[in-house]
Structure formats: structure tokens, C-alpha cells
């Protein structure tokens, strides 16, 4: 009897456990789905093309990707690094209506602004010409693809001054001092901190200007491929700085309309020589294409107790050993940079940033019938639960019916009176040497010149 009771109690306990009269265990989605910030966010859903895979931006891109690891999932990084599957490319080309912006650039290769585009597509016949001249180098295996476009800078004035720059990316002015006049190649699209010492007639003065080099564009490409950017400091600049003023010098290549008898065909705008209220950068941008911006003040970067020299956030290593290392990307847009025609993307960041130039975090890639991004699937991590989505248009409209017949009466004053038409013509032709058209083909067509 006791055994029967014991067995009954055990059976009851088993039944209670089996029927769920205990606290409920949550059934979470699969782990792979929990890794994604939301359905359709980390990767393409069925029938949806993936986001545009932007190329990696030079040698700084891995660090940037690592910094944003929490935001970008593995799938997204794969999408950035890897090639688009040929099936997707094929599907996108066959369905041009569902292509995302930039998909053609991805599939056909980004033409950039180097002038290697002709008509609607990229040119495959010519060599791969980066903006600013030169030839795109194929990186050795194991290295990130990316080309370093440099601009040569000439420090021309005052003679004897010593210029140092950051060579290792450590935030120190650790290069060998260059004695003016000197030349140095700087990667384009960077902001460089220089250290000026041994300034003639100003013993003991050390200045720390910054030089911002813009990317080459089709207007400045030929110039930067053949000439250096002259950077000069005058006595007036030093006087202004040492009295507490802030000097901004903008070196630009003037458009033909603004071309003057300036040195080397380029011109320089100095903030201290302009009228108050006129921004030299805006003015230079209006007159031509900016090559470099120099900002000079009297701040001692290396003073103890500061923020550790210029070793602030965003330090970058030099793209090639021996070249100066930028401490920030240039803010001037141009071609050939990481954005390569897509403006506004700073160097070292992925091309698509949620909320900036990509849908908000958690926003699916699917759209509404009127083209706007649809609502996010909340809670994140759950399967897509949206089943109904209604948009009503309450705009007052009064659309009149089109007219079916229209009549226009025209009368010109004065009227027309022409002479009687010719009814008889006598023509005598005499040709001694029959003409042979020997011009180059289409020489008489007034069309656009194609070389």
C-alpha cells in the first residue's frame, strides 16, 4: 500500500511538471537570429537585394570596422569585404527597377572621377587611371585594396626654417626635420599637423600649423600629377600669429574665369588680407578648386598638461611607411577619396552609417508603397510580425477633366507676301577633277569631340 501511495505521488509530481504548472520557460529565437539587430537588417531577406557593399577605405578601414563591431554584424562585414555574388548581380541587372542606389556602381565597378568614364559606362580599354594621375596599383596579397594618392608639397619660404611632421602615426613630430626649401609627398585627403622651428629672425618660436590637403578632382588632377603645392609662410603671417590672430591660407587652382597672373597658375587667399566676414575657404571654392588649406595659430601643441600632444582620437597610421600620417581626414570633398564621388563620407568609416546615410537602426530594408522606409519590427530579434500597413491620403484634390476639343485661331500681322516661286532654272556644271571626299570621318559633323 505504501508503495502504491509513493508511486502515485511521484506520478502526480511528474504530471504537474509535464502539464506546466511550474514557472514558464521563455522560448527565445535561434541564436543566429538574436545576433541580428532586426529582421532584414543584417542581411538581405528573401527577394530583397543586399545593401550596397562599399569598398574598404585604405589601410584605416579594418580599425574602423573593428571599432564598430558592435554595430555591424558579421554578415554586414562580409558584405563589405566580399564580392557580390554573381547571382545577385545578375538579378539586379535583370531587374533594374529594384536596384538600390549605387548598385550599378557596385556591379560595374566604381568609375570614380578620374575621367575614366566615357558615356555611360566604364572604359576598359585604357589603363586604370586614378584621379590625380598615376596608375592604380594592385595591392600585394594580404593587403587591403586601396590606392594611395599623394600630393607633393613644397615648403618654399622662409629659407632655413625646419619642418617636422608625424611620421609614425603616434602623434609625435618624429620625422627628420626638413630644412626649407624642401619637398615631401603627403597622402591626399588628410589633415596634417606640422611643427615649424628654427624660423629665421624669430628665435625660439615654435608653431604648429595644420595642412589640409584636398582630394584631387578632374579639375586639379593634371596639376597635381605634374606640380607640387607650394606652401609658404611670410613674415606677415608670423606677425599676425604672434599677435594672437588666426591665419587661414587657402591654396586653390582658379577656374579660367578667375585666372590671374599668379604664380604657377594657382592662387592663395589669406584670411588676414580679406575683408571681415569673408570666409577664405568659401571664396576660394567659389573661384576654383581648393588644393590645400593651412591654418596657423599660436597654440603650443606639445605643452605639458595638454591633451597629450595631438594624440587625440582618430589617430591614423601612415598609409605607406615614410609618408606623413594624418591625424584626421580632410573635410573637403573630392574625387578619389574613400567616398569616390559619394560626398561627405569621412575617411576610415564604413560607407553606410545607420541614421546618417542609411536607414535608422532597426529599420528594415523593405519599403512602404509610397517609397518611405517601413516601420521597424519591434521587438527586435523577433520574426517579422507586421501584417497590415495602411496609409491613407487625405490631400484635398481638385483635378479637372481634360478638355476633349481645343480650337486655336492664329492671325499674324502683317501677313505674308512672298514672291512668285521660281519656275525655270538653267544649271551648267563643269567638273574637271572629280572630287573625292578625303576628310577624316565625320569631320563635318558638329558633334561633341571624342578623342
Amino acid at each position: 500500500m505504501k508503495r502504491i501511495v509513493t508511486h502515485l505521488a511521484l506520478a502526480a509530481a511528474t504530471a504537474i511538471l509535464a502539464t506546466g504548472c511550474v514557472p514558464v520557460r521563455h522560448n527565445l529565437p535561434p541564436e543566429q537570429r538574436m545576433m541580428q539587430p532586426g529582421p532584414g537588417v543584417g542581411g538581405p531577406g528573401p527577394g530583397v537585394l543586399g545593401p550596397q557593399a562599399y569598398g574598404m577605405m585604405g589601410a584605416n578601414a579594418p580599425a574602423a570596422a573593428a571599432d564598430t563591431e558592435g554595430m555591424i554584424t558579421e554578415g554586414a562585414i562580409d558584405g563589405v569585404l566580399g564580392e557580390v555574388p554573381s547571382s545577385i548581380v545578375k538579378a539586379g541587372q535583370n531587374n533594374p527597377e529594384i536596384q538600390q542606389v549605387g548598385f550599378r556602381q557596385l556591379a560595374g565597378g566604381d568609375c570614380g572621377c578620374g575621367g575614366s568614364c566615357g558615356g555611360g559606362g566604364c572604359l576598359s580599354g585604357g589603363s586604370n587611371i586614378p584621379p590625380g594621375g598615376g596608375v592604380a596599383m594592385m595591392p600585394p596579397p594580404g593587403m587591403m585594396p586601396g590606392m594611395v594618392s599623394t600630393a607633393q608639397v613644397t615648403f618654399g619660404n622662409p629659407d632655413g626654417m625646419q619642418v617636422r611632421y608625424d611620421q609614425s602615426g603616434a602623434g609625435m613630430f618624429d620625422s627628420e626635420p626638413m630644412v626649407v626649401p624642401a619637398r615631401q609627398n603627403f597622402p591626399q585627403g588628410g589633415l596634417y599637423r606640422l611643427k615649424l622651428t628654427n624660423i629665421p629672425s624669430r628665435p625660439g618660436v615654435e608653431l604648429y600649423p595644420t595642412v589640409e590637403l584636398a582630394y584631387a578632382n578632374p579639375r586639379t588632377g593634371a596639376y597635381l600629377a605634374h606640380n607640387s603645392v607650394p606652401i609658404q609662410f611670410t613674415e606677415e603671417d608670423f606677425d599676425q600669429v604672434l599677435t594672437g590672430n588666426f591665419v587661414t591660407k587657402v591654396i586653390y587652382l582658379p577656374d579660367p574665369e578667375f585666372q590671374g597672373p599668379a604664380l604657377a597658375g594657382i592662387d592663395t587667399l589669406v584670411s588676414t588680407r580679406l575683408d571681415p566676414g569673408i570666409d577664405p575657404i568659401v571664396e576660394a571654392d567659389r573661384r576654383g578648386s581648393i588644393l590645400a588649406i593651412i591654418r596657423l595659430g599660436d597654440k603650443d601643441i606639445e605643452m605639458a598638461g595638454g591633451n597629450g600632444g595631438m594624440a587625440m582620437g582618430g589617430m591614423m597610421g601612415p598609409p605607406i611607411a615614410g609618408l606623413p600620417a594624418p591625424f584626421a581626414p580632410a573635410m573637403t570633398d573630392g574625387c578619389g577619396g574613400p567616398s569616390a564621388g559619394k560626398s561627405g563620407t569621412p575617411m576610415g568609416l564604413p560607407g553606410m552609417i545607420a541614421g546618417v546615410n542609411a536607414p535608422q537602426y532597426g529599420m528594415p530594408h523593405t519599403g512602404t508603397p509610397i517609397g518611405l522606409p517601413g516601420p521597424p519590427h519591434i521587438p527586435l530579434g523577433a520574426p517579422a510580425g507586421l501584417q497590415k500597413h495602411v496609409i491613407r491620403n487625405h490631400t484635398h484634390m481638385n483635378m479637372p477633366r481634360p478638355v476633349e476639343k481645343m480650337k486655336i485661331d492664329v492671325r499674324q500681322q502683317p501677313g505674308m507676301s512672298y514672291p512668285n516661286p521660281v519656275s525655270r532654272v538653267r544649271i551648267t556644271e563643269q567638273n574637271i577633277n572629280p572630287g573625292i571626299p578625303n576628310g577624316r570621318p565625320h569631320y563635318d559633323k558638329a558633334s561633341q569631340g571624342v578623342y
Binding site: G126, S127, I129, T150, A222, P256, E257, F258, L263, R440
Partner: protein
């Protein structure tokens, strides 16, 4: 030179110097204008913008030309590689050298070589009079080829002439663009051009255009562009990684040996 008689002589265009009076007038006009420029100011006189201009990066024009069919027709197709004989001439004492495998060959005064059409070559100029030790590294962009009689290609090369004004302007930091074109036989002046006083650069008379004009556009109006020479004062990079970019990937060229005479 016999070139002037058989093949239409190549002419040269210079864009490196603005006319002083025009340039000063332009500066006066711009300094007084404080408002934004009207967009119509940038429209060309013929009401259209040209797709290509001489200020584009070296290689861009040649690449577009490569996409056209033979003879400049609209038929698309990649042209067969062709080594166009080119002779580079300069003033007395100036020597030229082409790079090969990272180093320059022995410089010679009147360099002749077969250059691939569609490529950009950077060569070395040394021995400039009045600037001893100075070296310039201009680029020569091969846009198109000539069609000489069979077997006479090396006898009638494209002659690229560099005069002292070009070298001096480049040493001063200017960018000199020379567009070498083949005259349109319909509009060419039917006169044999006599060599100028400087026998080394003789034969051609360069047309100077102001900086307000596009030399490529002027040359295109007068004939068929075959090469573009740009002379600046850029020095080769010290970093070896940047050398292929500086030399445009070291395109191949064919040496042309002068006959023993």
C-alpha cells in the same frame, strides 16, 4: 625636315602663360565682384560644355580615345596595340630619357622611341641650360596614332618639341600643356613650314593660347589630337611604393635605333 612635306606637320599649342593685359583685367574684375557668380558666366560661347578638357588627369583623354574605333569612328572597339614612333626634341644640350624597370636609360638629345598609344609615359629631362642639375619629369599622353606609308613609320614620327620657354616656365612652377595635333588636311595652310632660327626645335610653330582657353579644344578645332605633353616641376617620390604610380605603371616602349650614318 621632310616631314613637313609629306605628312602634315604636327603643330604645338602652349598653355602656360596668360596674356598680361587680359590677366590683369580679369583680376580687377573679380576683385570688385562680391556677389556669387551668375551661372551663365560659366557657359561657353557655343552654348555647350565640352566633355573633356586639357586639365583632366593624364591618361583620361587617351582612355576615351581608346574606346573609339579605328580612325576615330563611332564604332566601339578596343584598338590593337600600336607602338607609335615619337621623337622628343629640345634645345641645345637638353637630354631625354625614358624609364625602364625603375631606372632611366642613358639620356640622349633627340630621343626616339615607339610608345604605346593609349598610355602615359613619364620621362626625364636633364641638361637644361642655365639650370644645371635640375631635372624635369613631364608626361606624354599618347592619344592617337598616325598612319604613315608602310615601312616609313620610323622616318615620320610624331615630333614633340620642347623649347626653352617651356622648360623655364616649368622650372618656375608653372604647368605647361602642349597639345600635339595632326592638321586637318581640309583646313591646313598649304605651305611648307621652314625651320625657325633655332634649328634644334625647328619645323613647327607653336600656337600660344591664353589660360582662358582650353588648348585641347583649340587643337581639336584645328586637327586631330595625337599626343598631350604636360611639363611641371614635380619630383619623383622617394618612397618606392609610390614609384609605379608616379611612372604610370611603367608602360612598355620600343627603342628605335638610329641607322649608322
Amino acid at each position: 625636315m621632310a616631314i613637313a612635306r609629306i605628312t602634315p606637320p604636327s603643330k604645338l599649342l602652349n598653355a602656360g602663360w596668360a596674356l598680361p593685359s587680359l590677366a590683369i583685367a580679369c583680376v580687377l574684375a573679380t576683385s570688385t565682384a562680391s556677389t556669387a557668380a551668375d551661372p551663365s558666366q560659366y557657359l561657353s560661347s557655343n552654348g555647350q560644355h565640352r566633355l573633356f578638357n586639357g586639365a583632366m588627369p593624364p591618361g583620361a583623354i587617351a582612355a576615351t580615345r581608346q574606346m573609339a574605333g579605328p580612325g576615330g569612328t563611332a564604332a566601339m572597339g578596343v584598338q590593337a596595340p600600336y607602338y607609335q614612333p615619337v621623337q622628343i626634341r629640345g634645345p641645345q644640350g637638353v637630354r631625354f630619357a625614358l624609364p625602364q624597370m625603375g631606372s632611366f636609360q642613358d639620356p640622349e638629345p633627340g630621343l626616339m622611341a615607339g610608345l604605346l598609344v593609349g598610355q602615359v609615359y613619364r620621362f626625364q629631362i636633364s641638361g637644361i641650360r642655365g639650370a644645371e642639375g635640375a631635372e624635369l619629369f613631364p608626361t606624354l599622353e599618347m592619344v592617337d596614332r598616325t598612319y604613315p606609308p608602310p615601312g616609313l613609320a620610323t622616318r615620320y614620327p610624331i615630333i614633340v618639341t620642347i623649347d626653352e620657354e617651356d622648360l623655364q616656365a616649368a622650372l618656375d612652377g608653372q604647368l605647361v600643356t602642349r597639345v600635339i595635333y595632326l592638321e586637318d588636311p581640309q583646313t591646313a595652310v598649304p605651305l611648307a613650314q621652314e625651320p625657325t632660327t633655332d634649328s634644334d626645335t625647328g619645323g613647327e610653330t607653336p600656337i600660344d593660347v591664353s589660360q582662358f582657353q582650353d588648348p585641347l579644344q583649340v587643337a581639336d578645332r584645328l586637327g586631330r589630337v595625337v599626343a598631350i605633353l604636360r611639363i611641371g616641376s614635380l619630383a619623383p617620390p622617394r618612397s618606392h611604393e609610390l614609384a609605379p604610380q608616379f611612372f604610370f605603371g611603367y608602360p612598355t616602349w620600343a627603342p628605335i635605333f638610329k641607322p649608322e650614318s
